[in-house]
């Protein structure tokens, strides 16, 4: 590939360097002015930077984005899940473990005794949500910040998946913390 031939002014560098410096200096001046104004509580509608101070501030995520699972509830608070094993069958990562038991209500066949998702294996494909005939599992919590010091903490159980508190800590993590 032939390089474009530079003309004289481009070859002596200086005008081009001056142009580049003008761009960066303009950014500096604008942002410095805005930072100073923000200090006095002025011009709040203009941003001096594009940085988002994660984790205090979070970018709004699109509604279709898939995040950590949750189990939906019936009106009485029990899980909608009927332990049909469709999600566990559909899961390509094989990370859903369900143990079924008899449901006290004779009109409902089964309910899960255990419903564990190993988040360290999950690939966030969303097949479990697609497979569910009861709309019992969803991936709409907006939470994907899963970081723990122990892999066991990443196995989310039924109680945690039913919990609607956004600041809830997974049961496994609590158990590990208590042990140590």
């Amino acid at each position: 590939m032939a390089t474009a031939k530079m003309n004289f002014f481009e070859r002596i560098y200086l005008p081009e360097i001056a142009k580049g410096l003008a761009i960066t200096a303009r950014h500096f001046g604008r942002n410095m002015y805005l930072h100073t104004m923000h200090m006095f509580g002025l011009a709040k509608d203009q941003d001096a930077m594009v940085t988002i101070s994660y984790p205090e501030v979070r970018r709004p995520y699109p509604l279709v984005s898939r995040s950590r699972h949750r189990l939906t509830k019936r009106e009485d608070g029990s899980p909608k899940c009927v332990a049909c094993m469709m999600c566990a069958t559909a899961c390509p990562a094989d990370c859903i473990f369900i143990e079924a038991e008899e449901h006290p209500d004779p009109s409902i066949e089964k309910r899960p005794k255990h419903f564990d998702i190993d988040m360290s294996k999950c690939v966030y494909c969303g097949f479990c949500v697609e497979a569910c005939p009861e709309d019992a599992i969803r991936m709409d919590t907006g939470e994907f910040n899963l970081a723990f010091f122990d892999r066991k903490a990443l196995i989310y159980d039924k109680e945690f998946l039913l919990n609607e508190d956004p600041y809830a800590v997974p049961t496994g993590a609590v158990a590990i913390q208590k042990k140590s």
Partner: protein, 370 residues
């Protein structure tokens, strides 16, 4: 009582010692903190230029002081890290190299003035605002900077690492070839000032015009050459921390930080020199130093001796700060040169232009002796 003490310290016996100590403390404080301050400036300024927020997470009791605490944390980290000397390295020289790099940059400040002379009541001799002003100040500075090459060469060579040695060779080749250009670019200005003493240079600029106006080519060339001498982007080939390995590869902890500190001290040093040689030092257009007790007119204000001294000092500091800012601006705007481009620029472009500038200046001096 107070009068007696004042008489004693301004008397001929004690005044050199007392004011020497005061001046040394003043300069050393500025130079030693400049590493801290300039690394903070570099971080924050680059962040602001690039629409980022910059380092702001470290804090003491919830006070992050606009990110300054981050630099304290860095210093703490540097001090507490393992100080590793490779088994193949020469222990004495390996330890000495960073100190040599830092020392030469610091020692050059001994001759740099930060103001003209001030006269205190009751003192026969005016106080020169420099630690040890001498006639050959500029030569002293250049001598110190030349010794600075040793710090870099030693650090790579004695650490017993091939990459370190290669980095040191790159650095020494770059610094030595640009030393020629640095000296020659200043030659035009020196021919006009007819002195190597910074105070005489500033006085000349006060009487005639600022160096940047008489010597625009010299200014641009010297500015470029100083960035090469400082080994900063866009000429940071010796280190090039992002892809090739430089001379400081076998250094850790505070010794490594000393190299960074030397770089920042040199930034301050060169800004200082450029202000003295090309930007009129502490001189402001139209402002003249009155005799003590007299006053002068400036911008419609009537100023006494004291205010003028303060204004001139502030003007000097402002110019130095501006040049530090400008050097950071260059550092965060331009991409790095290739090695052959640096050598091409140094030997085939800057050297001939500097020589041409000398000829041009000689002709100008010959025809217009003023």
């Amino acid at each position: 009582m107070i009068q007696t003490i004042y008489d004693l310290i301004t008397g001929p016996t004690w005044s050199p010692l007392v004011f020497g100590l005061i001046k040394t403390t003043f300069i050393m404080t500025i130079v030693m903190t400049s590493g801290l301050i300039l690394s903070w400036v570099e971080r924050k300024q680059s962040a602001i230029m690039q629409d980022r927020i910059g380092a702001n997470r470290a804090s003491i009791l919830g006070i992050s002081a606009l990110g300054l605490v981050n630099n304290l944390a860095d210093a703490l980290k540097g001090i507490t890290k393992e100080d590793y000397i490779p088994p193949k390295a020469n222990k004495f020289l390996h330890t000495m190299a960073p100190f040599l790099a830092c020392f030469t940059a610091t020692a050059a400040f001994a001759v740099l003035p930060f103001g003209g002379e001030i006269k205190l009541p009751g003192m026969a001799q005016p106080i020169a605002l420099a630690i040890a002003p001498m006639d050959a100040s500029l030569l002293f500075v250049f001598a110190m900077l030349s010794i600075g090459v040793y710090g870099v060469v030693l650090s790579g060579y004695v650490s017993g690492n091939k990459y370190g040695t290669l980095g040191a060779l790159r650095a020494s080749a770059q610094m030595i070839s640009y030393e020629v250009a640095t000296g020659l670019t200043l030659l035009g200005a020196l021919m006009m000032y007819q002195s190597l003493d910074f105070r005489v240079m500033v006085q000349w600029q006060q009487d005639h015009c600022w160096g940047i106006l008489c010597q625009p080519i010299g200014f641009v060339l010297f500015m470029t050459a100083t960035i090469v001498e400082m080994k900063r982007v866009p000429f940071d080939l010796p280190e090039a921390e992002s892809e090739i390995i430089g001379y400081s590869v076998e250094y850790s902890g505070m010794k490594f930080m000393l190299f960074l500190m030397a770089e920042f001290i040199e930034t301050l040093l060169f800004s200082w020199i450029i202000v003295l040689i090309f930007l009129g030092g502490w001189h402001l257009p139209g402002l003249h130093m009155p005799d003590p007790g007299q006053s002068t007119q400036w911008l419609g204000l009537s100023l006494g001796y004291g205010p003028v001294v303060v204004i001139e000092t502030l003007a000097f500091v402002g110019k130095v700060v501006f040049l530090c800012w400008f050097s950071m601006l260059i550092r965060w705007s331009l991409p790095r040169f290739r090695y052959d481009q640096i050598m091409h620029l140094g030997w085939k472009i800057m050297l001939p232009i500097a020589l041409g500038n000398v000829v041009l200046t000689s002709v100008a001096i010959l025809f217009w002796p003023k």
